[in-house]
């Protein structure tokens, strides 16, 4: 019986025999945290009695959640992280102004590579699987252990395969594919599983859309998402990869726990309604839902292509008078590129606010918190009760195209209609 890509990657990092459900101890290529999860990991790391990190090159620290510091408490947390980076010689520390949102930044920096085993103390660490690696979220204590030991125990996940056929319609992309998939299988539909994405549709997708898909596997309970590297992956890594990397692919006779196969040719843009990422409908079924706020950005949709799509829709148009729009480029580099390409000017001309990169609004932290009764359409990843603010506020999740179209219409709208109008 053949092996899946995830099984092969794990096998290359352990002496133990890799088989689904087995416990293994695997070497770690990158272990990172942010300003919420690092302070706790630092505390644990010191309590464990660790004197140094296993390899300062393989640790990254990214203050991005409550930064630029929201208040004194968040400033204290960020300070702890900065001091730890200095004290332990952590090279990959990304200060505000030179970094951005961790899951947009680390792949952009070429620090996450095909064949790697990566852990991050953030649930959306599964994003990097789009490059053909094993990447998963852990808690702060597990991360601290990995910093000390350079390894961590894992249960080898069973793999579910998702094959997408057909040709996507205009304005349909990675976000719609993952929302559709979560809508089909539910928020625990891939619990503890590796989700392998494949098929013609995936092969045609740009890298930015692939990151969006793998970013949200955690919303289906997945341990990791993965896409086999191809020429698009290699092109993305050219001039970017900071180390050598290894490409793995699934064997034709690899064993999958389950295979889902869909033709997406007729798929319309998808929207997840409050209060679950699995509560998904086509955009045409939600016309007329008024919105107070639109957020475009985050680790899910804060990449250059996301901003390009939003700019295409907003160009020469005005945001609806009753709506506030906040756009967050994912990193400083994305911001700079968007500036050069004229997207930022388009956003400002349309009446949108453009913010420095931060996770702030996605988790109800700062820079776009919702009041009681307010509705937001957002390109982020979670719409739980109270996620973006008051417990009686409402979050709809969608692509940058749908979010931008809704910004103009003042209600949930399809990009196609807005572009026609």
């Amino acid at each position: 019986m053949g092996k899946t890509i995830i099984e092969k990657i794990l096998q290359a990092h352990t002496k133990d025999e890799v088989k689904p459900d087995r416990l293994i101890e695997a070497d770690i290529d990158l272990a990172f945290a942010n300003d919420i999860t690092a302070p706790l990991a630092i505390e644990d790391f010191k309590l464990m009695g660790a004197k140094k990190v296993f390899d300062p090159e393989k640790v990254a620290l990214i203050p991005d959640h409550f930064t630029p510091n929201k208040d004194i408490k968040s400033a204290e947390q960020a300070k702890l992280v900065k001091e730890f980076a200095k004290e332990y010689g952590i090279k990959h520390y990304f200060e505000v102004g030179r970094g951005g949102i961790e899951h947009v930044l680390l792949h952009e920096e070429g620090l996450t590579l095909p064949g790697d085993v990566i852990i991050g103390a953030d649930s959306h660490s599964c994003t990097y699987g789009a490059l053909g690696c094993f990447a998963t979220g852990v808690g702060s204590t597990d991360l601290a252990a990995a910093w000390a030991l350079g390894k961590l125990w894992f249960k080898v996940p069973r793999t579910m395969k998702f094959i997408y056929h057909g040709k996507l319609k205009r304005w349909v992309g990675g976000k719609d594919i993952i929302l559709f998939t979560i809508g089909q299988i539910g928020v625990d539909g891939a619990l503890y599983r590796a989700m392998e994405f494949s098929g013609d549709v995936i092969r045609e997708l740009p890298m930015d859309d692939r990151f969006t898909i793998c970013n949200m596997v955690i919303e289906a309970g997945g341990k990791c998402g993965v896409i086999e590297p191809d020429e698009k992956t290699i092109e993305y890594l050219n001039g970017r990869a900071k180390r050598n990397y290894r490409i793995f692919k699934s064997d034709p006779d690899a064993e999958y726990e389950k295979i889902y196969e869909w033709d997406l040719s007729e798929l319309e843009p998808q929207v997840a309604m409050p209060h679950s990422p699995a509560n998904v409908k086509g955009v045409s079924q939600l016309r007329g839902v008024k919105v107070d706020q639109v957020v475009i950005g985050s680790c899910t949709n804060g990449r250059l292509r996301d901003l390009a799509i939003a700019a295409e829709i907003l160009k020469g148009k005005k945001v609806h008078p009753d709506v506030r729009v906040i756009i967050f480029p994912g990193t400083q580099r994305v911001y700079k590129e968007a500036l050069k390409l004229g997207y930022i000017e388009t956003f400002i001309e349309s009446g949108a606010a453009v913010s420095t990169p931060t996770c702030g609004p996605c988790l109800g932290g700062h820079m776009g918190v919702l009041a009681k009764g307010e509705t937001c359409i957002s390109t982020t990843n979670r719409n739980f009760i109270g996620r973006m603010g008051h417990k009686d506020s409402y979050v709809y999740l969608a692509s940058p195209a749908v979010a931008a179209a809704s910004a103009i219409a003042g209600e949930i709208a399809s990009p196609e209609e807005v572009m026609k109008g």
Binding site: I36, E43, G137, G139, S140, D142, D188
Partner: protein, 166 residues
């Protein structure tokens, strides 16, 4: 070790995510007592005050889904909860709880009603519903988790052993 924990059951539904357990806005601190005060606030604003030391959280499936924030497991532990029981756990929360020395046990939680008296033997991880006079079978933890839990969490475990033991 060999400690017997007794307390009342607080029942919760399916898919209780870590944002519900502790909202994102509260995560910018290492003040554990503060976290415990805001436990499950958006689900039930009174629950943190009603929980007494030794009580149990008893949930449906996929408990702890969403964010990896370990503050969720910390808030539960420092609220005085003995153990979390659920039909299934989201994987990051599951590891976080065990790493903190907080038992997270998979069992048929339909065998427990709100307010039932429960008893857990920490050494054997055997669970009883005292109100209904029935034992509740628990899905065994894997050997690594058992070892970590026995030492009271991953930090004390590593302090003692210095490495993983398989």
């Amino acid at each position: 070790m060999g400690e017997i924990l007794r307390g009342r059951a607080f029942k919760l539904g399916d898919n209780i995510n870590t944002d519900y357990i502790i909202a994102g806005k509260y995560t910018k601190t290492l003040d554990y007592a503060f976290l415990a005060e805001h436990l499950l606030e958006d689900v039930d604003p009174t629950i943190a005050k009603r929980i007494k030391r030794g009580d149990f959280l008893v949930a449906g499936k996929n408990f702890g889904c969403g964010s990896s924030r370990e503050q969720a497991a910390i808030a539960i532990k420092y609220a005085g909860i003995s153990a979390v029981l659920a039909k299934s756990f989201a994987r990051i929360f599951f590891r976080n709880a065990i790493n903190l020395g907080l038992p997270a046990l998979v069992c048929d939680t339909d065998l427990v009603d709100e307010g039932d008296e429960l008893e857990l033997d920490i050494e054997t991880l055997s669970l009883k519903n005292l109100s209904k006079s029935i034992p509740i079978p628990v899905v065994p933890l894997n050997k690594i988790m058992v070892n970590i839990l026995r030492e009271g969490g991953l930090v004390p475990y590593l302090k003692k052993h210095g490495d993983y033991v398989f």
